[in-house]
Assembly symmetry: C2
Homo-oligomer: 248 residues x 2
């Protein structure tokens, strides 16, 4: 992990851009974090739109967590997003998605699988490697929360990575059938967001996914509106969920 720039932000938050091999990332830590009082870490996964594009939203969220709740927060670029290289099968799947959406045709399982599964296969080991690097910093500690991004990445990461102690997921994108099966193996506490009128998603599929999770503690927060309309107050609800599970 190589820090490429750092700046101190309002609210006594330190923002560090870093690279982990070829992968760019950002870490936010509260001033109060130290080797003797490490800040619990929340991984904030971006949607596959690129870190630069998502920076304002990711940064606002991370700074809120750091300044109001004393959490550290970190994100890394997803494979095939931002300035990271594409691969032909992903480009093909994205072209298929656009074609089907423009034609108003139903999305097939094949397109969803081709769009999501290779990204999950690549991303999950990267997030685990990022976790190794981040937890090696003396001012960053466990237990670790995960939130956001492509929900399929969060599902597999929560299922396979024992350092993830709680996850906040947004049921706002298509989930391959194979990943719904993996959801049954997730047992950590979950808070799942659902936009009731999400134009790009199927409400019943999202409710079925919520039902599938194996966690004993899982809470669904369904709000009115479309994909981009998650209410501002859910940021605080997310922080309080993590505070219940990550603070010791």
């Amino acid at each position: 992990m190589h820090v490429t720039s750092e700046q101190r932000l309002d609210g006594d938050v330190l923002e560090r851009e870093f690279t982990l091999g070829e992968i760019p990332g950002i870490l936010w830590t509260p001033q109060s974090a130290s080797a003797s009082a490490p800040a619990p870490l929340i991984l904030i996964s971006p949607p596959p739109l690129g870190l630069r594009t998502m920076y304002p939203r990711l940064s606002a969220r991370a700074r809120y967590y750091a300044a109001e709740y004393g959490f550290a927060a970190a994100t890394i670029e997803l494979p095939g997003s931002g300035e990271r290289p594409r691969w032909p099968a992903l480009e093909q799947a994205r072209a298929d998605l656009r074609r089907v959406m423009e034609a108003g045709e139903p999305l097939t399982d094949e397109i969803v699988d081709a769009l999501v599964l290779p990204v999950v296969d690549r991303a999950v080991p990267e997030w685990r490697a990022a976790l190794d690097a981040l937890l090696a910093l003396p001012e960053v500690g466990g237990p670790v929360g995960y939130e956001g991004g492509l929900i399929s990445i969060g599902i597999r990461l929560a299922a396979v990575e024992p350092r993830i102690a709680a996850a906040g997921l947004f049921a706002g994108s298509f989930v391959p059938r194979a990943i719904v099966e993996e959801a049954r193996r997730v047992t950590v506490p979950l808070q799942v967001l659902l936009q009731w009128d999400d134009e790009g998603n199927n409400r019943q599929a999202a409710l079925d996914l919520f039902d599938a999770f194996g966690s004993r503690e899982k809470t669904l927060h369904a709000n009115m509106g479309g994909h981009a309309g998650v209410p501002q107050f859910e940021t605080d609800a997310g922080a309080r969920f993590f505070a219940r599970h990550l603070k010791q």
Copy 2:
């Protein structure tokens, strides 16, 4: 409104038992409430099990609201519950419910209507009269929140009473079809609780009811477990919902 007893509780909360005509009730106010700084009021409707039976839960909730958030809270006995007189049709409907439940037969619309509608018809004017009396106290102010109890009472009260500015409802009991129609006329912000495996309720009916509400801001909080298993953390989530809408 006639105060019959009062006591000061831990956390600087004043608890007053009162009667409003023949209806017993309880009011909790924070020490800080005064004529120059009246406390926003939350009406906490009990389930139809009697105020004495429900006192520990109602009181814990009201004291939390008062001590942590500076809200006043009040409750009154439902018609046909506690020591209030029954009426023959209600006794018949309750007997029908027990018979059907014990036989494992499906509950008919007729039984639900007979069980719920006459209680709603009586209760809603009583809650409005209680509101008149409570808001006449100098230390109690608006805007007013409503929560709990028989959800059908909350639906009609929120639909017809303009002083209700926000409602926290528990989709945990049978709702007559006529009341689902009334839900379309509710427009205040809502936070609706749903127990995912509620043994006495139908999940799909609850989701359909949530869908029916006319409110632009409505949030569903679905949690695992049966009817009595609403997680402790929802008390705080409820308080924060009211704090968003009732604090000025």
